[in-house]
């Protein structure tokens, strides 16, 4: 009897939690802003945000009790959690006639209330909302009580369908967009498309689950003979990837190429910061300083405006941008040689801010333009041809990434790279082993900074004019976030991270206001759930898991 009581008590608690999360996302304005983007026919991302905020709580709660409780009780509890969650959110429109929420909460207003109540007025609409919440809870309870394979598969298919629906604009924007037309609504997927994606995802899961044993037997069988099948496959995949990467901008068109370019610039910076944070274990929060220095150097050396001092071409200026960033990396590295961990983070953050404040100040205005920045930075010429459009720049940035990745890879495998990693593990032990900490630290700062300088130089030439406002702390945080999301120390992780943190938000431009909120939440979630990142370095993963498991 007692355990019964605690079960229902905890159901009520979870319902309240679901409601609190729902209220939070509503009041913060997520639901309303996301309502502008349809995912599947009329169902908008706003609806999905609400449903997810109740659904995740209900799913976790019910899954926890799946073994112990009967199916009927799970369904009832699901309805309770979902209904209670919806009821708390429905309190907003119900009480809005007596309380002026808008005085405090900017998003609370008629538009939000009518969205929550399906435009049916406070009482009927709220009842509908609660009913939807309860039904959703029941649905989740049903999914939870499925066998493990189907449960996972359905959840995965649901998430994939939402993602595809969300990104469906991407398909229609492509040059081969017409191929996807039958499955797209005015905005988002249509019902046919949604069912298709859902079905395909489950079918793929089913297929891969039943195929596995056969494949591994095959791999074992072919192993002794020369090139294994896996190797061959890897080569084919590599070649295909190369072709796709080279042809991508032609396929994607100008806007998406611009998005890819931003991803590319952040990838170069990420590869650099990865050396400092990932290999050498020095937490640098002022990384934007070197990006700014690279960009300003490029601006000063090439600009055809009044601030230009040399009127060089891009190619002549690039080495200087990199060099200046490198020297700055060493100079800023000297005072922090003795600092570790948290202190280092704050001091480097201070450096980043100092560079921005100086760029903005009246003191240096005659030299670098103050708040007005440097204008008229020419595009890079190439054998009589001018690199101009985002598509052209895509290839330039690709070369930059290739260079950066090659250098980063060779460095990691070198003696210096091993010294960095030894230092990351334990400075004192590394020193005792004969590693010169000063040289090791300063080279890490210098190489990291030089990558950022390169990215800054390309950026300056790409956008054509630079302003101090483009170089704020958020860039440092973005770069740090993306290497963490990808997996600290992992090179493919950098690319995955920048695709997720720079590419996605660029595509979801209308939610720009919530970009940083989602960043913050994902940083926390990442550290709680998957501290090693999406594409971790094997050693790193083992370490983090061990230490967390302690």
């Amino acid at each position: 009897m007692d355990s019964q009581n605690t079960f229902w008590k905890s159901a009520v608690k979870n319902g309240l939690l679901a409601g609190a999360i729902g209220l939070y996302s509503t009041l913060v304005g997520l639901v309303q802003a996301f309502n502008k983007r349809a995912v599947i026919e009329q169902l908008s991302l706003g609806h999905i945000t609400l449903l997810l905020s109740w659904g995740v709580v209900a799913y976790v709660f019910l899954n926890h009790h799946r073994e112990a409780e009967s199916k009927g009780k799970l369904i009832a509890a699901g309805a309770l959690v979902g209904g209670l969650g919806a009821f708390l959110v429905a309190l907003l429109p119900m009480t809005a006639q007596w309380v002026d929420y808008h005085f405090v909460f900017v998003h609370a207003g008629p538009e939000m209330y009518s969205l929550l109540t399906f435009g049916k007025g406070p009482w009927v609409g709220s009842a509908m909302l609660v009913a939807v919440g309860a039904l959703w809870g029941v649905l989740i309870a049903l999914v939870v009580s499925l066998p493990t394979f189907w449960r996972n598969s359905v959840v995965k298919a649901f998430l994939i369908t939402i993602t595809v629906g969300l990104l469906s604009d991407l398909f229609s924007g492509m040059t081969i967009g017409w191929m996807f037309q039958p499955f797209l609504g005015v905005e988002g997927l249509n019902i046919l498309g949604a069912v298709l994606v859902f079905g395909l995802s489950i079918a793929y899961d089913y297929w891969s689950a039943h195929r596995k044993p056969k494949e591994s037997a095959e791999a074992v069988a072919t192993e002794p003979t020369g090139i294994t099948k896996a190797q061959l496959r890897r080569m084919v995949v590599g070649a295909l990837a190369l072709v796709v990467v080279a042809g991508l901008p032609l396929l994607l068109g100008s806007y998406l190429s611009h998005v890819l370019n931003m991803v590319g610039l952040y990838t170069i910076m990420g590869l650099g910061l990865n050396i400092v944070v990932g290999y050498a274990g020095l937490l640098d929060l002022g990384y934007v300083a070197f990006f700014a220095l690279g960009a300003y150097m490029m601006g000063l050396l090439t600009s055809t405006g009044p601030l230009g001092i040399a009127h060089w071409t891009f190619w002549e200026a690039v080495p200087f941008s990199i060099l200046v960033a490198m020297v700055a990396g060493i100079l800023l590295g000297v005072p922090v040689l003795r600092m570790r961990g948290d202190y280092l983070a704050i001091v480097t953050l201070g450096f980043g801010e100092i560079i921005r404040i100086l760029a903005l100040s009246n003191w240096l205005k005659p030299l670098i333009g103050g708040a007005q920045g440097i204008l008229l930075i020419p595009k890079p010429p190439l054998f009589g041809f001018k690199i101009q459009t985002p598509i052209h720049f895509y290839y330039l940035i690709l070369v930059g990434i290739g260079l950066a990745a090659f250098v980063a890879y060779r460095l990691r495998e070198s003696r210096l790279g091993r010294a960095w990693m030894a230092m990351r593990e334990d400075e004192d032990v590394a020193e005792a082993m004969g590693i010169d900490l000063v040289v090791t630290k300063l080279t890490a700062f210098a190489f990291g900074a030089s990558f950022s300088g390169l990215a800054g130089a390309i950026f300056a030439s790409y956008v054509g004019s630079i302003f101090p406002h483009s170089f704020n702390l958020l860039i440092s945080i973005n770069v740090l976030s993306l290497i963490i999301v990808g997996g600290v120390g992992s090179m493919p992780g950098v690319f995955v991270g920048s695709l997720a943190l720079v590419g996605l938000p660029e595509l979801l431009r209308e939610f720009a206001e919530y970009r940083m909120l989602i960043y913050g939440l994902s940083l926390i979630a990442m550290m709680l759930l998957k501290p090693e990142g999406f594409w971790p370095e094997p050693i790193r993963k083992r370490e983090l898991r061990e230490e967390v498991g302690d």
Binding site: L283, L337, G341, S361, W363, I484, M527, D550
Partner: protein, 356 residues
């Protein structure tokens, strides 16, 4: 004695010399600036006094925030990067009560009660935000490697900032003027702004109260015990989790009040206002010696005064125009200098490297 000197000389490496030279160069530049300013006499004596009083009052605010950093750092050895935003949460929420009270005229008819109510609301908001942050973002990671909670804290900082932007909007709101605190008054023959006087008195009172709490109550004793050694404290029957929560509550409450005081001086509140004061307060905590309660107070006042005097005293003497734009540079430079010459801070007794 000569043994000691010999030992000292043996321990110096060329890194130390390089770092010291770097620091010395900054100090020399600063001295040149001071001489230049004094020589040129840009400001009158009265103006200098104004700078100092302003510096003390903003230093009081820094000190109150710095206490939150120091308390948490003393116990968990982590920088609560989101502390500046907890300060913002209180100040921003307090604004709405202030505006409502002003609308009904209570704000000026009962200023003391209004101020107390606003501070109470700010405190409660800050505490709630801090408790949620601690529960969701910090507690599960207490045993994780050091980098992990720091990154979570950065994430928490952004989450709080943009949550409040979403809730309250991205506009800049201004606290209404409280009539009895407008204008100047004279204290010991000095004419100073009433608001500054209020902030100085309140911040000193709060600090005294906090010091007494930490030093003389049982809960304060438990807090110091946990800071000394968690495991031993828990063996002695101290509920460590409880103490950690208490610490967050205490720090956040002070930050909430500091938020209101900050808003009284600077009037404006917005969702990003916590970032710079947060970093400054951290700097203050480091200057005083992180983990040390009186150190944080001292560091706050020193930083506040430095920042108020610095642009006029040092930078203008160097011939830099519009030097007030560079006051943040002064704060960060002070941080670097302290870390170079006295990494344990002015009042820190334990070696910082041991902990870091």
């Amino acid at each position: 004695m000569s043994e000691k000197i010999k030992y000292f000389l043996e321990r110096i490496s060329w890194v130390d010399i390089m770092v010291w030279l770097f620091g010395l160069a900054i100090l020399v530049i600063a001295v040149i600036g001071v001489i230049g300013s004094i020589h040129n006499a840009y400001y009158t004596k009265e103006q200098w006094m104004d700078f100092v009083v302003f510096g003390i009052s903003q230093g009081g605010v820094y000190a109150l925030i710095a206490l939150g950093y120091t308390l948490v750092y003393g116990i968990l050895f982590m920088i609560n990067f989101a502390h500046g935003d907890i300060f913002m949460a209180g100040a921003f929420t307090g604004y709405f009560l202030a505006a409502k009270l002003n609308q009904y005229g209570i704000y000026n008819s009962h200023p003391i009660i209004s101020l107390l109510l606003i501070m109470l609301l700010a405190m409660v908001t800050s505490v709630v935000v801090a408790l949620i942050t601690e529960r969701v973002a910090y507690r599960p990671l207490r045993k994780a490697p050091r980098l992990v909670p720091l990154i979570t804290a950065i994430g928490a900082s952004f989450t709080i900032e943009y949550t409040f932007r979403g809730l309250y909007g991205s506009g800049v709101e201004a606290y209404p003027d409280m009539k009895i605190f407008v204008g100047k008054t004279s204290v010991l023959g000095l004419r100073i702004l009433k608001v500054h006087l209020l902030v100085i008195i309140l911040s000193i009172l709060l600090m005294a109260a906090l010091y007494a709490y930490v030093q003389y109550t049982k809960a304060g004793k438990a807090m110091r015990a946990v800071a000394e050694d968690k495991d031993v404290a828990s063996l002695m029957g101290v509920d460590v989790d409880r103490v950690i929560v208490n610490t967050f509550i205490l720090g956040a409450a002070l930050a909430g009040i500091a938020g209101v005081l900050y808003a009284l001086i600077f009037k404006q509140v917005h969702f990003f206002m916590g970032f710079i004061p947060g970093i400054k307060a951290f700097t203050a905590a480091v200057v005083g010696g992180i983990g040390n309660v009186p150190g944080a107070m001292l560091g706050g006042f020193i930083l506040g005064i430095f920042e108020a005097l610095g642009p006029g005293l040092i930078l203008e003497g160097l011939g830099i125009p519009a030097s007030y734009q560079l006051k943040d540079v002064i704060a960060f430079t002070l941080l670097v200098l302290v870390l170079i010459f006295r990494p344990t801070g002015l009042m820190g007794e334990r070696l910082s490297e041991e902990k870091v």
